[in-house]
Amino acid sequence: MQAPVLDVKKLKTSFFSDDGEIPAVDDISFSVKKGEILGIVGESGCGKSVTSLSIMKLVPQPPGKIVSGEILLNGENLVPVSERRMRQIRGNEIAMIFQEPMTSLNPLFKIGEQLIEAIKIHKKGNKKEFEKQAVDMLKLVGLPRAEGIMNEYPHQLSGGMRQRVMIAMALSCGPKLLIADEPTTALDVTIQAQILALMKSLNEKLDTSIVMITHDLGVVADICQRVIVMYAGKVVEEASVLDIFKNPKHPYTMGLLQSVPDIRNKQDRLYSIPGNVPKPGSITTGCRFAARCEFVHDRCLADDPPLYAVEEAGHHTVRCFLHDTGGNGHHD
């Protein structure tokens, strides 16, 4: 079997405040294979963005800190490496695109200058070569009149075009892994469809692995091959995209899927999960979802459930005592 591009092991990232340690990401493990698109879904405060920032080592420190665990990128553990080495890795091996294409581009510099800056840091060559490469990247992401756009400023482009520029910049040094943090959330649906199609085709063309962080289950179904569902800093379920939608096991995943109004048929009443999304760090004992779960029993309140394997073949795990058949728990 091929070694994964990214292997996150027991990662724990906490924020430290006057009130003590607040674990935003609590002991999560997952891996991404070459050419795979992995989705991370969850609601606000579940730790999905902190996970991506941890991988990039961009967690603001202080107050944040990677407390324990390993982040293996092609076998190299990123947690202890120096900032200097990390700078070589960012862009070259992992790149990231953000939700807000408006704020992630510098309004004072031309698109071309910003693209070339990224290439210049990581590659050798002269100005002409850089320029050609930048134009090629803009063409690759499907922007019309790429040469013209090189000389334009971010405000002259629409939201969808800016997100394309961000993708071009992220892919300009041929990273093996692209982390996309809600890349289409700020875009309209018709533009979202364009960007998702672009990401899919680039994934096939360049064989770049993608970690897609989103709250939109429609986006997950559209683009991802495997999905992890996060809740309050923990992975509560991991499965192939088909299993997550057709055979969800965790009560939270099931609730989430039923809460989304479906455009294809009209339900009389939407299912809703009672209660609110917990604040990070507010639940310390038992299952994080216990307070909102309709299947809650005594054990859920006392113990933290481990991940249980549901099916041996398909690699489907779920963090819920309902699936304890004795001996199928991984203690992670």
Partner: protein, 323 residues
Amino acid sequence: MTEVLLEVEKLKKYFPITGGVLGKKTGDVKAVDDISFFVNKGETLGLVGESGCGKSTTGRMLMRLIEPTEGKVVFDGKELTSLSESDMRKIRKDVQMVFQDPFASLNPRHTVEKILEEPLIVHGIGNKQERRRKVREMLEVVGLSSYHAKRYPHQFSGGQRQRIGIARALMTKPKLIIADEPVSALDVSIQSQVLNLLEDLQNEFGLTYIFIAHDLGVVKHISDRVGVMYLGRLVEITTSSQLYEKPLHPYTQALLGAVPIPDPTVKVNREILTGDLPSPANPPKGCAFHTRCKACMEICQTDRPVLEEIEPGHYAACHLYKK
């Protein structure tokens, strides 16, 4: 017999563009360009469209929070656009609004009690004790508790704040509620709670809603009829089931096709719209959608199509369906 509660006729809003040292007017942004529709009593009309299509401007014009440039708004038999400011304020007792951002639309320095009491004070309803009692009742109605009255907005989560926003809108017992993206800032699991609440309240108080949103799934779920807007124009309006089963306008078809479906086994053959939204300051001649339309004909580039009844109750503005 259904009764029409609100009728909008040829409503327009042009925002002037000024330029130069003297601030001379150099053009107009046609945010809303000649739209007409009606809302029946007790129904929910959804307004959908992408950013910049004028759906929020329309919502605000109905309450005259933005003054229309032209056109009429008839609410409950009264023409609103010609009313004086003080008469309009009285009307606002019957027309209330719920806003998108539950973080920005509540005054952080006021307690929930004060926030909910204020509409009653403005409209001179009840004495202090009655008002306080009503506030506590309303909190229970929207699924909060009366002990929440003494708290401040920052002590609530997003979903709870949106409940407070809805409670505030309901305080004056309005007939019509204009909800502008009321659930788009909320998490999925909270969004469904608020949608269910809105439906319960509609049944309980016989409310009429205008529900403005960009999420087509949400709009379909809550609306009886849906209007689709593009570049300040209404391109199609019909019942929710007809719109989703048999969309007529090519833009509606593309919009519906672009929605990702939460089911990996459905492989949609997506017609992806190319290009971006044209600028509303300089909309294309003829049909505003012709620059991105796959069925564009010659006439579309010159003549603006009008909204016509194609099938009973199904209106579309498209030359394809001209008899």
